[in-house]
Symmetry: C2
Subunit: 204 residues, 2 copies
C-alpha cells in the first residue's frame, strides 16, 4: 500500500485522502470510477491550462452517467445545474473540457490498450470479476498508480450545439397540465407533448 | 429585509445563510432558481418523511436542467453520478422524490396560480422583467417568504423505468472507435451508432 497523504498524488489541488473524503461526502462512497474520474479531470485540467492559460473558463462534456459526472462536479466549477456540465448517456468513460467561443479543448478517455499493466484495474473496468471477488485495496492502488497512464488524451473541438446559450424567454401556463413552461417550447409544454415516462398522480 | 440567520427558515437542516454559502461554493452563485429549489427539496423531503419514515431511502427525478439539479445534489445524497438523481429536459420547475421498490413518492412543482402574492418572484419566474431591472434583494426575500406557498405537492408513482437497476456486464472494445463499452449496447458503442453531437478530433 501507498503511504498516507504526504506523498499522495494530488487531484486538482487536493491530496488523495482529502479527495477521497470529499468524494465520500458528495457521492456517498469512494467509488472506483469516481476516483479514476478525479485523476482524469486533473489531467484534462492541466492540459487545458497549458493550452489556454490557468484562468481560461471551461465547460465539460461527459460521456457516461456512471460516477464521472460527480468527479467533475466535485473538482471543477462545472455542475449539471449551472449548465456548465453536460452528460451524454453513451457508456463511454470519457470527458471533454472545452473553451468558448471556439469550442476547442481536450478529450480524455480510458484507453483499452493501456490497461494491461494494471490487472486489478483491468479486471474491474472490463467487468471480468464479480464485485464480491474484487479486492478494493488492490483496485484503489491500481487506480492511484495506473489511472493516469491507462488514459489517452486528444485535442478536440466540440460542435456548435454545445456553444449556444439559450434563453428561456417568456413563460406561460401550459393549457394541458397548467404548469409554467417557456412559450418557445410550443403550444404545450415538452412534458405534455409526450414521449416521456412521467410520474403519475395517485388518487387520494 | 429579514433578520440574520437566527430566525431564518431552515433548508434541509441548514440555516438560510449556511445554505446560501454552500450554494455559492457548489453552483457558483446564489441563483434564485437554486434558492427556490432548496425550499422545494426541503418541502418534498419533509412530506416523504411523514409518509415513509425519516430513514426511507429515496431517489429524485427533476424536470429541468436549470438550477434544480444542484439544489438536489447539495441537500440530498442523490447525485447525477451516483444515479440517484435523474434529470429530464422538460423545462418544468418540478421535482419528484420517490422510494423503491414501489416507486411511490411526492412531486412538488411551481404552481402558476399561486405566484400572485409575490410580485418579484412572479415577474422573475415568468420572465416579465429583464435581469438588469430585477432587484435581487426583493426577489430573494420573495423566495424566502413565498417560495413554499407558491408550490403545490401531489402524491405520485413513478413508472417502472425509474425502478430498474441495470448492470453494465462485460465490457469490450468498440470495433469502430476502439474505446471500451458495454457489450450489451450492441455491435458498436452508442456513440458510434450515431445521432449524437460529439467532439471532433483536431489534426495535429
Amino acid at each position: 500500500m501507498l503511504k498516507p497523504d504526504s506523498d499522495a498524488p494530488h487531484v486538482c489541488g487536493l491530496g488523495w485522502n482529502e479527495f477521497v473524503k470529499k468524494l465520500e461526502d458528495f457521492h456517498g462512497y469512494a467509488a472506483p470510477g469516481a476516483l479514476w474520474g478525479g485523476i482524469m479531470v486533473d489531467m484534462a485540467r492541466e492540459r487545458l491550462k497549458s493550452l489556454f492559460g490557468p484562468d481560461a473558463l471551461f465547460w465539460v462534456l461527459v460521456e457516461s452517467y456512471s460516477c464521472l459526472p460527480d468527479a467533475v462536479q466535485l473538482l471543477t466549477p462545472c455542475t449539471v445545474g449551472n449548465r456548465r456540465l453536460q452528460v451524454l448517456d453513451l457508456n463511454r468513460y470519457a470527458l471533454t473540457l472545452y473553451t468558448k467561443p471556439g469550442g476547442q479543448g481536450v478529450r480524455i478517455f480510458v484507453d483499452g490498450g493501456k490497461l494491461g499493466p494494471w490487472p486489478h484495474l483491468q479486471s474491474w473496468f472490463m467487468g471480468l470479476v464479480d464485485k464480491k471477488d474484487q479486492d478494493a485495496n488492490l483496485l484503489t492502488n491500481d487506480i492511484r498508480l495506473g489511472g493516469a497512464s491507462a488514459c489517452s488524451m486528444r485535442a478536440v473541438r466540440v460542435p456548435e450545439t454545445y456553444l449556444r446559450r439559450e434563453r428561456k424567454g417568456k413563460i406561460g401556463l401550459c393549457p394541458a397540465c397548467g404548469e409554467p413552461y417557456p412559450l418557445r417550447d410550443g403550444e404545450r409544454c415538452l412534458a405534455c407533448r409526450g414521449g416521456f415516462d412521467l410520474p403519475v398522480e395517485l388518487k387520494s
